[in-house]
């Protein structure tokens, strides 16, 4: 059976079960043992529900295979665009950390708008300036926030 024909719930369940085992073991290393009781109880519930999800995912996969139906799959088709978006967000956050909020935003906003298909430079620049001024007056002047 090909990977894309397997219901996404199976992968979610497996991933969560692995995470539960890891965090359960990690909880064993807590300084005070009573602190581990509640997290472990939560992890056991997550693991049980994840296992139920795996079994249901397998059943739905088998049903879909029998009826030639479609299953809920991991969103691979949309991945390039979304990955681009995530990379942009991370770069913006890193740049904010390095150069400060206002410089990072002055670079990110026009680039972001351009990547989403906006081509009118006047609009891009004016929106960026308005946004910078809005954040400055609200967060710096009013809320006295120490900006990154």
């Amino acid at each position: 059976m090909r990977l894309k024909n397997i219901h996404a719930d199976v992968f979610i369940g497996i991933l969560l079960d692995i995470a539960c085992v890891y965090f359960y073991m990690l909880a064993g290393k807590f300084r005070a043992s009573e602190s581990a009781m509640w997290p472990r109880a939560c992890l056991i519930i997550v693991a049980l529900l994840s296992t139920m999800l795996i079994f249901r995912g397998i059943r739905l996969t088998q049903q879909a295979a029998k009826n030639n139906g479609a299953v809920l799959t991991l969103p691979f088709q949309e991945l390039p665009g979304v990955a681009g978006g995530v990379v942009m967000m991370i770069l913006y956050a890193l740049l904010m950390n390095l150069s400060g909020f206002f410089i990072a935003t002055a670079i990110f906003m026009p680039v972001g708008m351009f990547m989403l298909g906006q081509r009118r430079w006047v609009v891009m620049l004016s929106v960026t300036v308005v946004m910078e001024l809005f954040v400055y007056f609200l967060f710096v002047v009013q809320l006295k926030l120490r900006m990154p």
């Binding site: 300084r31 009781m37 997550v46 979304v82 978006g85 990110f108 989403l116 967060f139 120490r146």
Partner: protein, 506 residues
Amino acid sequence: MFAEGVLNAVIQNLFTLDVLIALLVGVCLGMVIGAMPGLSGTMAIALLLPITYSMDAAPALIMLMAIYTSAMTGGSISAILLHTPGTPGNAATAIEGYPMTKQGRGLEALGISMLSSTFGGVLSAIALLLIAPPLAKVSLLFSEPENFLVAIFGLTIIGSLAGEDMIKGLLCGAIGLALATVGIDNISGTLRFAFGQNGLYSGIQMVPAMIGLFSIPRVLAVCEKPKEANKSLALESDTSLSGRLFLSGKEYKRLLPVALMSSIIGTFVGILPGAGGSIGSWMSYDRAKRMSKHKEEFGNGSIEGLCACETGNNAVTGGAFIPLLTLAIPGSPAAAVCLGALMIQGLVPGNRLFTQQAATTYTILFGFLIANILMGIFGLLISKYAVKVTAIPNSILMPCVLVLCFIGSYAINASMFDVYVAVGFGVIGYLMEKLKLPAAPLILGLILGSTAETGFRLSLVMANGNPLVYYFSRPVCIILMVIIVATIAAPIISSMMKKKNESAAL
């Protein structure tokens, strides 16, 4: 209902510049954001949460509640004029509103929508004022075991109602509970799952998590098809408006019973935790159709149908705050975010809100009532222009949303770590949306996790080694346990019965 001193304080609090600005900003922003398909009231509340930090509790909460109710109304504008519901709660509105626009009665539809929304919102606010204070007295019977069970009750009910899938709802709630254990343990002081990160010592912050789960996935969804991000809804549709704004007295008389019935249904649905505006709207619509003498008009621009949907979804907003303010159980995802806002402001749901903090609480409740009235007036004035906001393409809107997400996350502790947390939760939130995992139970787990854990562990200490006997010796605990079991079992039994009936029919 309350002491004269409280009433005086409420009047003084209400007519301050802060509150009036909060009301205006909340109503305007809610209306505009609601009119934009893809942007929800929940997202707007999460985004504005950091701004409320420096505000007093009353204006902060009034602004957030005004956004919640106005977004629901704003959503009807695009539903009526563009056949695109601004929020999920306006889906039924499009069925009756858009045909009216096609018939050249768009303005009339907007008028009905604004007045119905105001009617539903005001009645639900009155219900909130009347029901919440006596219900809050129930919380006086609560100690640690009951607090634990109420937290679990909130989670189970959200798990079963927030999404279509009970297992996934419960799973997300449990993940939220597990995530709430990150950081220093309240009781023993032990550091848990912090991985040496200073930013995690005080746990996962609610606001970046909320911003990540509710706002960033909208941005990532636009990134899926960047080529379509520059299109604008309004420019693609004919949004020319004609007709009258107000109906005749005879027509309003015809709508009055529908509005009353829908207000009751909406408020009741709102009280049920997890059932949001869409359920209130659809149930009211269905009831209006059954009651109507003009059934043939439904689907072709029925004024009764439109009135029912809009009254129903706005009545949900007030109803959703009844269990929230009394028992800390939110009635909808937006109310769950408001629960976070309440806690940030140091307001703990329960009887204390209506006794020691009565002046602030009643200011908020009366503010909510005024917000609903203001929303109607404002809506009638601007609704035909508000649709223009849908002309703003996502290519401009989304970078602005992301900037606000980042600065909002940063503002809580002036820490870049929170921005990274928001990005992480944003990616998780996007994947959850794609994989049909509901985000609301996760947030609720994160919010209620600490209360549940403290309640559970302290009740074990109070039980002196015999928790079962202790829990079963407390009447309120028994009632809560029965309710929890019934809440979990009801959908399972109903689905089993449905399957049995289907197989019997075959």
